[in-house]
Subunit: 496 residues, 2 copies
């Protein structure tokens, strides 16, 4: 047994008087390019970690009005095996970071008189088995083996049932909400544990982004389209830049020139690493192309792709492609303006997301890095064997690319779920490269797809701002309306 | 990796011309009194194993018309963990025994042009991991830990998907059918893997026979009622016999008298063991109170409870209670007439069901042995701690009595499944003590309860005979009709 972190937002809790609605958030996080064996996983570098003081954006996230309490829950290491192994937790973590980037829940909880619970996913943040020893937990396949989506879902079920019992709130309905991988978990949780959650809001959940369901070219096609939609020139410049970088790097003194152009720190430079660094910026900016300033993966202005393309188009005008690209990268890596140079070999992981690499090497084999001739990135084919090689070398583990669709389905989803299941919302923003693996059409009367042409990765779950475009406000209104319907139905059924 | 046995009945297979309907049977078996810590597990003793030659009943089961082929499938030991462990199979087993007791499938398969597949449950029969070494597989909690329902369901999903792919029959619908624990698995399989099975026929599946859902008195109440319904005297005699046996055993020479009365072999006698032996006969006869001769748990005449009560009532007339009880026991233990004495210490397990004790000590904590003042058995309270003590001593394992309802639900099932799930049939015969934990009322338009007042444990799945009562023929007709509807709907949806 070990402990699972959860955040409990109880300022509006009123369980004894009102029929309480318990809103549970499954931990969600951005699916990183770790799932792309060719782009090295890269999160925020230390040089540009946001300092709250220097940031005028996204302050609302730190509003003390949205306070919470962190609690722990002792959990089985292995729900599907009775070989008894007991562990307890502790480590440092970042559940708060997720909580702060999911304002929607904080804003809607009072409407529903809901207790808001954030449940951390095992092996992330503070929820580390093996006495909380991250080193031990990630030391080998034997200890990492318990890091799976099925175990995480069973954690949630166990915790929610226990929590409701302890609160004498057995009849209170639970709605699960999550974004990205957390959205996948929310959808799967509703499918596998309908007796625990009455409905799920799965935001930007690419549950179809698996082998033989979604094209491996879909992901980069959307990124290409995102940039092209801002400026044909911007797209062309980026598309042509990979060759220019390789050429420059091959010339005498060329790497030194590139270092200067991109303000790379002196410790390390290499053409592939530089390209990976740029690609990461383009991938993540596509995911987080939000209509208002944000600070999720990095502090960013409103519509950051537009800003990037502006920099690139200006570079073209001055006939300096690298200056334009640098300007674009600077928007992603240094919007706060505090970085003096960029570290290409930085492997820091401020939000504790390293576990994702293990997941990408076991269950979460999501084909995303196919690039065809129209791609903004250099052409490449998705080959699942690359993943096998990568994972064999890193963990000595063999991925199971068909396991997710065996366990949760995905093929022919419309036919399967049309007469099975209910009460699910799939939100997708079409700017989001993950939307290609999302559910984009209604499946039934109660399994609904909400699609926002101009939306990015789980934009609906962010705090609302006065500058939100109409379509975003409308999406959130619809989500609340649908959830209200579920609740209404639930209470009606309960009193029959 | 190890191998899972499956029987493939292919005489009517015609997958390339017709839209094939693939009918898959989840291994089912009678839930024994192993789940009742107070009745010692006891299956058929060697002395009365049916010899086909000596049996005039149930010959149809051996009809060569219903031939099959046994194949093997390599399987992951642990679907929910990526700690790689590889194993292969082999041992002796009894999947044929189950197949022979499920004539319904053989009879309906041709109607549906179906390929009939019996998939054996891991740790039973020939499907033993750890190189098929039963000794190793059952040696400790570490090796037994993989014997769980969730792993078994994942085995089925993996196997069915692979089988369909190999047969180029991806579009062929699968219906899962099972009885007893296999019925529970069938129901859970449809709930958890709707993308693999379009529907489930769950016969005598006590999915509600768990802590705080079904009363622990329900099981013995039904047995009491079964005997009472045949003869009030019969019920009274059995109810009073426990005290008489204890009294007799306490007298000088009393055990020797009991030994003679019940033809117990000379190796061992004891009042509690004798009572357990009699109770086993009453429990299993209630479960298998079929309207025609059968040979499932033991060779039995039609309506065996009636026969037992006849013996008991005759004993009463002759003022010899023990002779009457012996006559009743003889019907269960020696209907073939070949036994010369009965062995109370016999622990033989002809059908390889020992794994159930492990399951009863981990997930399958099914409260059944409460006996109130009206019970035909001596009064006793269900106390889950008895199970804990038993399992601690036997396996050094701690049961999780709430795990099944956490993983699969059960509480408030009508409300939960009314708007979730579809295409399930729950059959229950009300003579069956397990029916108290079954689904006895329709849940929705497509989650149907079929109830037979005079039916016993999965009687619907037995081979039909010319002597079947009308209600039984009618139940099977309805089942086929409903399955036909699912298929019709499936093909309609497929071609949309």
């Amino acid at each position: 047994m070990w402990e699972l972190g959860l955040l409990q937002y109880s300022s509006i809790m009123n369980i004894n008087r009102d029929p309480m609605f318990l809103l549970s958030l499954l931990l969600f996080f951005s699916i990183s390019s770790t799932s792309n064996a060719k782009i090295i996983p890269r999160f925020l570098s230390k040089s540009n970690l946001p300092s709250t003081d220097s940031l005028s954006v996204a302050l609302k996230q730190n509003n003390p009005k949205y306070s919470y309490e962190t609690k722990y829950f002792t959990q089985n290491l292995d729900h599907f095996n009775f070989n008894p192994q007991s562990y307890q937790n502790f480590s440092k973590g970042d559940i708060e970071w997720f909580a702060k980037n999911t304002g929607f829940m904080f804003e809607v909880a009072p409407k529903f008189k809901a207790l808001l619970v954030f449940i951390e996913h095992r092996y992330y943040g503070k929820s580390i088995p093996f006495c909380g020893d991250k080193e031990v937990a990630s030391s080998n396949t034997s200890t990492l083996g318990y890091l799976t989506s099925t175990q995480a879902l069973a954690d949630y079920a166990t915790l929610i049932i226990d929590l409701k019992k302890n609160l004498t709130a057995e009849d209170s309905p639970v709605v699960v909400i999550g974004g990205s991988y957390g959205g996948m978990l929310a959808a799967w949780f509703r499918l596998k544990y309908p007796h625990v959650a009455i409905g799920a809001l799965a935001s930007s959940a690419p549950i179809l982004n698996f082998e033989n369901i979604t094209s491996p070219y879909s992901f980069s096609n959307i990124i290409s389209q995102d940039f092209k939609s801002e400026s044909a020139n911007c797209y062309e410049v980026i598309k042509g830049s990979w060759k220019q970088i390789q050429n420059k790097a091959g010339q005498p003194g060329g790497l030194e020139e590139l270092r200067k152009s991109f303000k790379i720190c002196k410790n390390y430079i290499n053409a592939n690493a530089l390209e990976g660094w740029l690609q990461t910026a383009f991938v993540y900016t596509s995911m987080t192309d939000y209509p208002t300033p944000s600070n999720f993966l990095a502090p960013l202005p409103a519509y950051p792709i537009k800003q990037m393309c502006k920099a690139i188009d200006e570079g073209r005008e001055r006939n300096d492609t690298f200056a334009g690209l640098y300007g674009a990268a600077n928007i992603y890596y240094n919007y706060s303006g505090s970085a003096t140079c960029f570290n290409l070999s930085d492997k820091s992981d401020p939000h504790g997301l390293a576990g994702w690499t293990w997941q990408a090497c076991t269950e979460m084999v999501m084909p995303t890095d196919g690039n065809n001739e129209h791609s903004i990135f250099p052409p490449s084919k998705w080959n699942v064997m690359d993943r096998f090689t990568f994972c064999k070398a890193l963990f000595d583990v063999q991925p199971r690319p068909n396991w997710i669709s065996t366990e949760y389905g995905g093929h022919d989803i419309k036919r399967v779920l049309k007469r099975f299941g209910s009460n699910m919302i799939f939100f997708n923003g079409l700017r989001d490269p993950w939307s290609g693996g999302g559910v984009l059409k209604n499946i039934s009367e109660s399994i609904i797809a909400l699609v926002a042409e101009h939306g990015a990765h789980h934009v609906d779950l962010r705090f609302s701002t006065k500058d939100d475009p109409k379509w975003l406000t409308e999406i959130r209104r619809k989500e609340i309306e649908i959830i209200q319907l579920w609740l209404h139905q639930y209470y009606n059924d309960l009193h029959l």
